[in-house]
Symmetry: C2
Subunit: 507 residues, 2 copies
């Protein structure tokens, strides 16, 4: 398999050199004194009068050489541990929307910790997702439990690697304590820490703020699995060109990489971005734009040059509803990334530019994720696959439906979607003329009706947590009694009647 790529080696070299030049000549504004001191101790030039840190190229290159080529994310169940790069991209749900489309009322509202519990339950069983990046915020979080109210219901209901961000080191310690309580002891947790943190590691352009920089150092010093995401907005805080944005964000990633390696050598990282351009007709934030996929393709090239895992937010949409726009925006950019060799895709469940999550869209994105993996699994080429003997034996005007190869591989040779409709129109109409969103919502809800969640924490672990964190949210994935999924009516043409002339050939 030869990956798609936009740039030749000399262009990659030029971006790399330009980034080094920025780091050395302009440097970064670093708002954290401990970080400035750490940079200074490890060879950077620090100007305390304006909090500016300039990093010489040889310092950058020395630390870049220390970055491990792989990263491991661990689940509560070790069978979900994943080390990448691997052949198939690792796919996570997308994270941290404030809102959710209520699966019962169909109304968009603030998300809660119970939504997170339900999401954990569903994501645990959606086999296209490898990682549960906690998809919403918890509006019902008690004081002092902002992200605890997210991690707890997530970890309680999902055995896969769970991640989201924290706002401070104190909060990180709280979450890690949660992990220790789940594992039964600090030793058991730290033997295989099944929590990972993703966070915005830098403020574009070229600014390290206090808290996220403090987090970065804390994670690295303590061997906590974590990775930053650089999230620029082209035309606002980077140049309005793909190469210009790449110079900027590459410099920024290199700077955070340096600080992580200075804090602890051989800290695992991901070369991870959310590279969005503004739509400058009205300044709209456009994560559904095709340029996000194009930028990710360049990201993959740079990551391979640096021999670190390539990742990014893809498959986001600006659409507020699961319509055809949501479909193509969610399908195209992950595919572009996958064909460019991306190792880690954050893509599932969100609508409205990271503002809301939809349980139906989550199941649709799971199916898209599986297709993206099929594409990357590739084409198995062998003499047997060529089937020359079958072609000769069956001959002109023959039929392959009962050939041994067909019978043996009939459900494995091609991807077998669960939600995509392939029925005859008559059958589809008789069965209710549904959209994929309706079927997908039903799938998510069917998972939730299987109560209690077999992945849930043991009562003992749960009791330890509740005793340690008084007032912690309930974290259960149950549904209201007598619930029915939200009505999501088909559009008008769906209801139409017709007679069929089966089948059409390309004319």
């Amino acid at each position: 398999m030869q990956y798609f790529s936009y740039l030749d080696e000399s262009a990659l070299d030029r971006i790399h050199e330009a980034s080094l030049e920025i780091l050395e000549d302009v440097g970064l504004l670093v708002r954290n004194k401990k970080a400035r001191d750490r940079f200074a101790e490890h060879g950077a030039a620090v100007d305390e009068t304006n909090e500016r840190v300039r990093i010489p190229a040889d310092v950058v290159m020395r630390y870049l050489a220390l970055v491990p080529p792989t990263i491991t994310l661990r689940g509560r169940d070790p069978k979900f541990d994943v080390t990448f790069p691997r052949k198939l991209p690792v796919v996570a749900t997308a994270s941290s929307a404030p809102d959710i489309v209520d699966p019962v009322t169909g109304l968009t509202r603030r998300a809660t910790s119970q939504d997170i519990a339900r999401l954990g339950h569903v994501v645990n069983e959606l086999d296209g997702f490898d990682v549960f990046s906690i998809s919403v915020l918890a509006d019902d979080a008690p004081e002092g439990h902002f992200n605890l109210s997210r991690f707890y219901p997530a970890l309680k209901n999902c055995l896969k690697p769970v991640r989201t961000s924290v706002v401070s080191v104190d909060e990180a310690r709280q979450i890690l304590k949660l992990g220790e309580l789940i594992a039964g002891s600090p030793e058991a947790f730290w033997e295989r820490p099944f929590i990972n943190f993703g966070y915005c590691s830098i403020v574009t352009p070229l600014t390290m703020d206090f808290d996220s920089t403090e987090n970065l150092m804390f994670f690295a010093e303590n061997g906590v699995t974590a990775y930053g995401t650089v999230a620029p907005i082209g035309g606002i805080n980077t140049p309005l060109s793909l190469p210009g944005m790449m110079v900027m964000v590459n410099a920024e990633w290199l700077a955070t990489m340096c600080l992580a390696q200075m804090s602890r050598e051989r800290t695992e990282l991901i070369y991870n971005f959310l590279p969005v351009f503004a739509d400058l007709r009205d300044g709209a934030y456009a994560p559904g734009a095709i340029e996000v996929g194009m930028m990710n393709s360049i990201v993959c090239q740079m990551a391979r040059r640096y021999n670190v895992p390539a990742g990014g937010y893809l498959g986001l949409t600006n659409s507020k509803v699961s319509d055809a726009q949501a479909g193509y925006e969610k399908g195209m950019s992950p595919l572009l990334g996958a064909l460019s060799g991306v190792d880690f895709i954050v893509m599932g469940g969100l609508l409205d530019a990271l503002m809301s999550l939809d349980f139906g869209q989550l199941a649709i994105d799971n199916e898209i994720a599986k297709m993206v993996k099929v594409v990357r699994a590739g084409v198995e080429f062998s003499e047997e696959a060529l089937a020359i003997d079958d072609i000769k034996r069956i001959g002109p005007a023959g039929i392959f439906a009962d050939a041994p190869m067909t019978l043996e591989n009939m459900t494995t040779a091609t991807f077998m979607p669960e939600l995509a409709d392939r029925k005859l129109r008559e059958t589809w109409e008789e069965q209710g003329a549904s959209t994929i969103h309706q079927r997908a919502l039903n799938k998510s809800m069917a998972i939730l009706t299987r109560q209690p969640n077999p992945a849930a924490l043991t009562p003992e672990a749960d009791a330890r947590i509740k005793a340690h964190f008084p007032g912690i949210v309930a974290g259960d994935s149950s549904l209201p009694d007598g619930w029915v999924p939200a009505e999501t009516g088909p559009t008008a043409p769906v209801r139409a009647r017709r007679q069929s002339r089966r089948r059409n050939a390309p004319g």
Copy 2:
């Protein structure tokens, strides 16, 4: 730009050799005596007792060397003439669905010649489409005017290259006569023939029937622009594996290529396929499957090996309605083809596995086509694009919104969609909470309200045609008085109310 590819050179060689072996050892069933004689006269071994034609490898290679590396499709207006391969893929609408979603009632019904007139008018103005492949049949065609009732309204309303199939040579002559009447004289038409024919050139497996083979020879002998499409169904009439299907369809394409070159050397061709696998859970025809894109990727590799333009049907969907499934199925396979280097994409407007056309989906697919072209246009890499001086000048915590580069390129640096929603939720709700399908249908209808169609034939040309073909259909693109577009109601979550917390960062 480095294209994506699945196979290495040795695998391509093996497919090529296996196809030659099939042609030489098994051969084809050729139901057309004239074709068998032509094959025999040009070095093939013909067995008249069973109508079998076996083509030695050296004969295949001799004719393969004659295939021109480019093909030209001409429009009624020369500004739409297109020769490819070119940098960007050439995109055509998809063709020949029996049904249409009525834009006024929203009901799916048999398509008519007036629908074709309207489609021609709309496609003429949708700038993502380079070619109008006549998207529906004409249920109102008078006796003897089956495809005349398609070509006439199409050519009358569209200046771009127009194509579809014909069932017989007599019909082809009728359509070419139409072209001569439009051009004003046979000489004027044949100077730049603005009609092209696409047709199923072979019946998989390995069978040439009478009519399409007669057409193939007629087109080649007379220098008519035409290309065949091989349309297998994997697991039914080819082996159930991608390489096995490729061996079969490559052999079939080579056979039709030979007959075309034997009929007239240096006949222009496209290496063009609709490679669909059956969903063997229930035998469903699945042109929306991701494997169609994967096969197209291999098709592109073989086409480059043979130095002929690569084409195919992509962006088809099994969905009956313009939902998220239609969106991702229509976005993903054209992108896979584009990243693999495809030259010609047939993709616009159809739903339900080539069974129906929808005016809204047509405009959505136009926007997808434009994104696919943006992806192929690539990333402009230059010192200016790197914007190093801007990054240095603006510095940490600065703003790029008023940089000269931003102001200069604000509407050209990224793709500016017309139909994709990027609004704030509040604005979108105030403006009606529409789906992209509603906006797209309105766009198509807005084009149709601009009457008369400025692309329409001159009254003189039209009078010539009506005089020559008494009883010919009207071919006008007008809409009923007082029409309003079909109601296509948003799904329930669209109507929800919420308060917004702008903007979310990746957490």
